[in-house]
């Protein structure tokens, strides 16, 4: 029985309703920006400030979506993504890489290590929210898709 496991609002009839998003970036500026963008959305936010912390929180918090900066201390976003893809519990969790490096080879490497999508900085708010919603399988109103 999972009801109440993370608060009654997060679980309904054994199914999770309120989604959790893990934001991993070593830049406070970007973390604050991402939190601001997601503040009006019905998501629980978990934050990590380096690659190792991102990896650990991905396992402990079991987020529904992970936003990973590529260049981070301790472990790069590529490495975190690759490691998470090897574990059963995070194998299919959507992972979006968020980076200043928008060159084709970086994007290709991201897909090779198993990311689902790529967001380049500076973040375009509309694109950012659309990709987050899309990968969380929510419609534009934040309702669960049937």
């Amino acid at each position: 029985m999972r009801d109440g496991e993370k608060g009654s609002e997060s679980w309904k009839g054994g199914e999770k309703v309120r989604k959790t998003v893990l934001l991993a970036d070593d830049s406070n500026t970007i973390l604050m920006m991402e939190r601001m963008l997601l503040a009006k959305e019905p998501y629980d936010i978990v934050v990590a400030k380096d690659g190792q912390e991102a990896y650990e929180k991905a396992l402990s918090e079991q987020p529904d979506l992970i936003l990973l900066d590529v260049i981070m201390p301790k472990m790069t976003g590529f490495e975190v993504c690759q490691k998470l893809r090897q574990l059963a519990q995070t194998k299919s969790t959507p992972i979006l890489l968020v980076t200043t490096r928008g060159e084709a080879e970086n994007i290709e490497k991201g897909y090779q290590v198993g990311c689902n999508d790529y967001i380049t900085k500076p973040i375009n708010n509309v694109e950012f929210l659309a990709k987050v919603r899309d990968h969380l399988e929510l419609d534009g109103k934040g309702e669960l898709r049937r």
Binding site: S27, N28, T29, I30, M32, M33, M36, L37, T100, G102, E103, T120, K121, P122, I123, N124, N125, V126
Partner: protein
């Protein structure tokens, strides 16, 4: 045959013809009456059909008017919808700019550590504007030249010191006016790749400058929101750096 017999035969014949003619006339009259009735009913049917046709014409005209009205309203709604979509995009752009300004301001004034403020300036430039190469200068206490205090992606030695009034960066520090490539003259030499130069100002006093060279490959050019961010950086980055100096002196 006697004449009497001939007369009788003629009378009979005439009588038969008369009776035939009478019967035929009667039949014709009956038929005529039936046809008249048919004409009357056909005319009534024709009137009814004409009335129906007229009603259909009126209905068609009404539908045509309604269709034209609906088309006009559809065009109005489509136009309004486009206007709302444009407004939505504009509101989203303004929201984005405001969010950038808020985050930049919050981060700049969230610390009294000089290194952290310089790091925040670089983070703002890289993450919110989309720069790849930047340099932050501070004016010497004597006020004669700018010296490099932070850089990203450039060769620091080439910009270690810039004389006030020299080149675009020196002129920006001397005039206190922001410089944008393509708007006011061209930069040359080491400043060839300069995209923008923003003075750091405390009220009207210039305390330094931020030079932006190359932008990230995915950033096609500076936008209106970037210029608003430059205006904010011009005063708030200068203020944040000034506060770190005050704090250092107070705590020394």
């Amino acid at each position: 045959m006697t004449n009497q017999k001939k007369d009788d035969s003629g009378r009979h014949y005439i009588e038969r013809v008369r009776q035939d003619a009478h019967r035929y006339t009667h039949e014709l009259l009956q038929e005529n009456e039936a046809l008249r009735g048919l004409v009357v009913s056909l005319e009534a049917e024709k009137r009814r059909l004409m009335e129906q046709l007229q009603a259909i014409r009126e209905e068609t005209e009404r539908f045509n008017r309604e269709q034209a009205d609906l088309q006009r309203r559809l065009i109005e709604i489509q136009s309004e919808s486009r206007r709302f979509a444009q407004q939505f995009v504009e509101v989203e752009r303004q929201n984005s700019n405001l969010a950038n300004l808020y985050v930049a301001n919050y981060q700049l004034h969230g610390t009294l550590d000089r290194e952290r403020v310089l790091q925040v300036i670089q983070e703002i430039l890289a993450n919110l504007v989309g720069t790849e190469e930047t340099a932050v200068f501070e004016l010497d206490e004597a006020g004669g030249s700018l010296h490099l205090i932070s850089s990203n992606g450039i060769e620091p030695h080439a910009f270690a010191r810039v004389a006030l009034g020299e080149g675009v960066i020196g002129k920006v520090a001397a005039s206190g006016e922001t410089w944008l490539a393509g708007h006011a003259g061209a930069a040359g030499g080491a400043e060839e790749l300069l995209t923008a130069c923003v003075p750091l100002k405390l009220e009207d006093r210039v305390t330094g400058a931020i030079a932006i060279f190359r932008l990230l490959p995915q950033k096609s050019g500076l936008e209106a929101g970037d210029r608003e961010l430059f205006d904010l950086l011009a005063t708030h980055a200068a203020m944040a750096l000034y506060c770190t100096g005050l704090y250092r002196r107070v705590t020394a």
